[in-house]
């Protein structure tokens, strides 16, 4: 019941929806950059929403399956293939043992997610499977996946082998999710103006909502460094440290912007220009260095109703997936 990393990717880590409730200890939530894709990978596979998944960056890994498995790949399109046969994204797939999953070409996006039915047996630390690379804890030995790592997954009460209807290496299950509405207008994100927004010069306010910014190559899971028109406050401001969140847009002393991402520090002392709304963080997580980005303001009340309507939409999807899986299990019960 395991997979083996034959060849590691540039940054493959175990993630879930984050390590919450530890902010006052300086321990950040971490977790999947694209929480929507991570959730949907689990839902399509019949796992709990917060089950551990592998977050894959490009170039991706080569993974040997030592056991039949039910998997789903979501998020970025790295042209996933099983023994050179292409696999669809956002669709559960039964795969046979002794096959190799790989991600040869970057087509679109920045982070792919792999969920395995049953979930991975990995380290649970402070209520989360997420890998905290800085502290070296959680997930798989607190580090990125390396060659030879063998990750076990939990036994399922459903015999995967019985579900195959042919001799093929893999078999698609007859349902999928269309995620495109969630990633519509990929390069445009909405933000709630931050506490220091009103201290920006009027030119700076105008620049932020009308010009284009580019993601700098130094960007990573901690934060996206942006390049574009420099912004300025009316008056320089010294601030004491205060809590920040996933999506906070900070103004650095040199006038450049940084968007805090999943591995952000728990506190920061730079002016808060705005906060990207959480339904748009998945879009951001799928942008690569060099990609452009445009910002549009939205107020907190509208942002909240947007979040709630997306949540309801997802609930309907989850239930539909659950129903399909229940039927499938009924078919394979002895």
């Amino acid at each position: 019941m395991s997979i083996v990393i034959i060849k590691p990717g540039i940054l493959d880590t175990i993630q879930d929806l984050g390590r919450n409730g530890q902010g006052s200890f300086g321990i950040n939530p971490g977790g999947a950059m694209d929480r929507l894709a991570a959730r949907l990978a689990n839902v399509l596979t019949g796992n709990h929403l917060n089950e551990a998944v592998i977050e894959i960056h490009y170039p991706g890994p080569q993974i040997l399956f030592e056991q039949d498995a039910l998997i789903t790949i979501t998020g970025a399109d790295f042209t996933a293939g099983l023994n050179d046969e292409p696999l669809p994204l956002w669709k559960p797939v039964l795969i046979r043992k002794n096959t190799v999953l790989q991600f040869p070409v970057l087509k679109k996006g920045a982070r792919a997610y792999l969920a395995v039915h049953g979930g991975f047996c990995v380290e649970h630390w402070l209520n989360s499977y997420s890998t905290n690379l800085k502290a070296g804890i959680g997930g798989w030995k607190g580090r990125r996946l390396e060659k030879g790592d063998e990750l076990f997954f939990r036994e399922s009460n459903c015999r995967i082998a019985d579900l195959f209807k042919s001799e093929n290496n893999f078999q698609l299950l007859p349902w999928s999710v269309n995620p495109y509405s969630f990633y519509k207008d990929l390069h445009e994100v909405l933000f709630i103006p931050g506490h220091e927004w009103n201290e920006l010069t009027s030119k700076s306010k105008h620049d932020l909502s009308s010009s284009t910014y580019t993601i700098h190559p130094s960007s990573d899971r901690m934060g996206y460094q942006l390049r574009g028109n420099l912004l300025h406050l009316e008056q320089k401001k010294e601030m004491v440290s205060c809590a920040v969140s996933f999506g906070t847009i900070q103004l650095l002393p040199n006038g450049q912007l940084v968007i805090l991402m999943a591995d952000h520090q728990t506190s920061g002392g730079y002016p808060r220009i705005g906060h990207i709304i959480s339904p748009h963080l998945p879009k951001l997580a799928q942008l690569n260095p060099g990609d452009s980005l445009q910002f549009r303001p939205i107020d907190i009340i509208t942002a909240e109703s947007f979040l709630l309507s997306q949540h309801n939409e997802l609930q309907i999807l989850y239930r539909a997936c659950e129903d399909r899986l229940k039927k499938l299990y009924a078919d394979c019960r002895p």
Partner: protein
Amino acid sequence: MNEYTIFAIGDSAITIDFGNYISESLNKKVMAMQSWLHQNSFEGLVDIIIAYSSLSIIYDPAVLASKNNISKPVFEFVKQKLTDAYHLSSVQERDRIVKRIPVCYDESFGPDLGFISSEKQIKMDEIVYLHTSITYRVYMIGFQPGFPYMASVNERIAIPRKDKPRQLVAAGSVGLAGIQTGVYPLDSPGGWQIIGRTPFKLFDKTKPNLLIMKPGDQVQFYPVTMKEFSRLSNRRS
């Protein structure tokens, strides 16, 4: 009554802020509000994060919105909780044991001692004396697991952060930033002026009670020699 502002820091997080001050009384108020909120918790509360003079709540709007007795927007509900916490919490004076932390102020551990000495026209011995003669308050933990923000250092050694952060500051390094002093629990990049190193582990992932310093703690540093540093390191590991 203190002046405060309450504002969103995202669609799932909110802050009450008492201004840009490092003040013991504000920090005590913030801690009192945190314990009030723990006692008067609500479903959908994800985290409470305290800082120098602010408190933030991370919440799950979907969980809150599913409750029949909470009207939308739920932002207003959480905002009201913060207002309640402000008015209904009371500061409890507690006796705190002073935690004594050994620091080796050898120049090999404190690469910025020379700079501070020439910048502030002060002998290195005196920097050590001034740094160890005050009992500091831990105001908050932030930046990285277990990093204590402490204040206030003697004005004579108060020095701004480095213009360019170091790529690597060793775990245990003790630094200065303005009137703040802190200790790096992990190897990491950092911009504070480094004056020494403690052999104590501030963050040990193998220990269940994670942190040896918490907000509200009193901390005093004491100087140790290189030899004592090694002895203490071996004992702790």
